[in-house]
């Protein structure tokens, strides 16, 4: 170990700031999910079932997202169809 490494390792690592950063990210993420309406998962499931009547797709090939922009909400559907 070089002297430089030794000195560096002795420097206190401010773990509290790591904790803060991690918490801010996870809390923001979970608050976003909290505001999602309850029907979203059910809606996604039913949509997949409808599309499956016509095209064979997996659950994860349909993405449903709800975005709030001021007074209006946008329901975004992203469906990946398999290659023919």
């Amino acid at each position: 170990m070089s002297i430089l490494d030794f000195l560096r390792s002795r420097k206190k690592s401010p773990t509290a700031s790591m904790a803060k950063e991690r918490l801010q990210i996870i809390v923001a993420h979970e608050r976003g999910q909290r505001d999602e309406p309850d029907y979203l998962p059910a809606l996604q499931k039913e949509l997949v079932e409808v599309i499956r009547k016509y095209v064979n797709i997996d659950q994860d090939q349909v993405q449903v997202a709800l975005e709030n922009q001021g007074s209006c909400s946008i329901l975004e559907l992203n469906i990946t169809l398999p290659d023919r």
Binding site: P14, T15, A16, A19, R31, R34
Partner: protein, 271 residues
């Protein structure tokens, strides 16, 4: 008008019961008729912290089931006028508390008492939900530590969506944050989240900061609410928190490192 206050946290072991006992006792000391209700069915502990474990004859579930009257089940504190305790049941039946039963009893208590303190169990299951359901105000107890802060945020979310006030679209539950086991030394070394950090992450008002203190264990050993240990830092910090709960503006103490005097350093006195 009476106020129903829930003491909750999500995470276990952060000091909900210690806080319920201290805040309830503090309110009674200031002349307000107060009852502290233990919602932790199966894991009753408020009685031990309050030092009345040998006087429990009837409990919350007995009253709900009509096996005892409310007045039979209420335990009057021997030290302080105006203070009563309603113990939790030790039954293992986790469905012993029902929404209707809880609502009936808490409403009845609210008619008799100025303050009804609901000591919530840990978790976000039925017991915790019932404890916060009727609340007008909430004290969210948090340790300056990642899992506790995250769980507190979950709890805040539940308060704003699942409480009776939220369900009925009334004015929301007023939320207060109480930080416990705070160590200014560790904050100064960058090892612990600071008061400002936690306030910023959760964005709610801080009602009190209780320093990590030997007085808390000492008080629970004796069955005396720590707020009655007026010499102790934790007792004084709880006392300030109660004043703030009553609307007084009190500056926060114990946020700075306490400098040890020469004699203290020589003899290692910690109190």
């Amino acid at each position: 008008m009476s106020k129903i206050i829930v003491v909750t946290s999500g995470k276990g072991g952060v000091g909900k019961t210690t806080t319920s006992a201290a805040v309830g006792t503090g309110l009674a000391l200031r002349g307000h008729k107060t009852v502290i209700v233990d919602f932790d069915v199966g894991l009753r502990n408020l009685d031990l912290i309050m030092g009345c474990e040998r006087r429990v004859v009837y409990d919350f579930v007995n009253v709900i089931n009509g096996e005892a009257t409310l007045n039979q089940a209420l335990i009057k504190d021997k030290r302080i006028e105006n203070l009563y305790i309603l113990a939790a049941s030790q039954t293992r039946d986790k469905d012993a508390l029902t929404l209707e039963g809880v609502e009936k009893i808490i409403t009845e208590l609210a008619e008799q008492f100025e303050y009804v303190i609901c000591d919530s169990p840990a978790g976000i299951e039925k017991g915790a939900h019932l404890a916060m359901y009727l609340a007008d105000e909430a004290i969210v107890v948090t340790n300056p530590e990642v899992s506790s802060v995250r769980d507190s945020d979950r709890m805040l979310g539940l308060l704003s969506s699942k409480s009776k006030r939220a369900v009925e679209g009334r004015e929301p539950v007023s939320e207060h944050l109480l930080l416990t086991r705070y160590s200014p030394e560790r904050v100064a070394r960058g090892e612990m989240l600071s008061v400002e950090d936690v306030e910023e992450i959760l964005s709610i008002q801080m009602i009190g900061v209780i320093p990590e203190s030997q007085a808390v264990l000492k008080a629970s050993n004796q069955g005396v609410p720590v707020i009655l240990d007026e010499e102790s830092d934790a007792g004084q910090a709880y006392s300030d928190a109660v004043d703030r709960l009553l609307g007084k503006e009190v500056p926060h103490r114990f946020l700075e490192i306490q400098k040890k005097g020469f004699l203290q350093r020589m003899f290692g006195g910690k109190e």
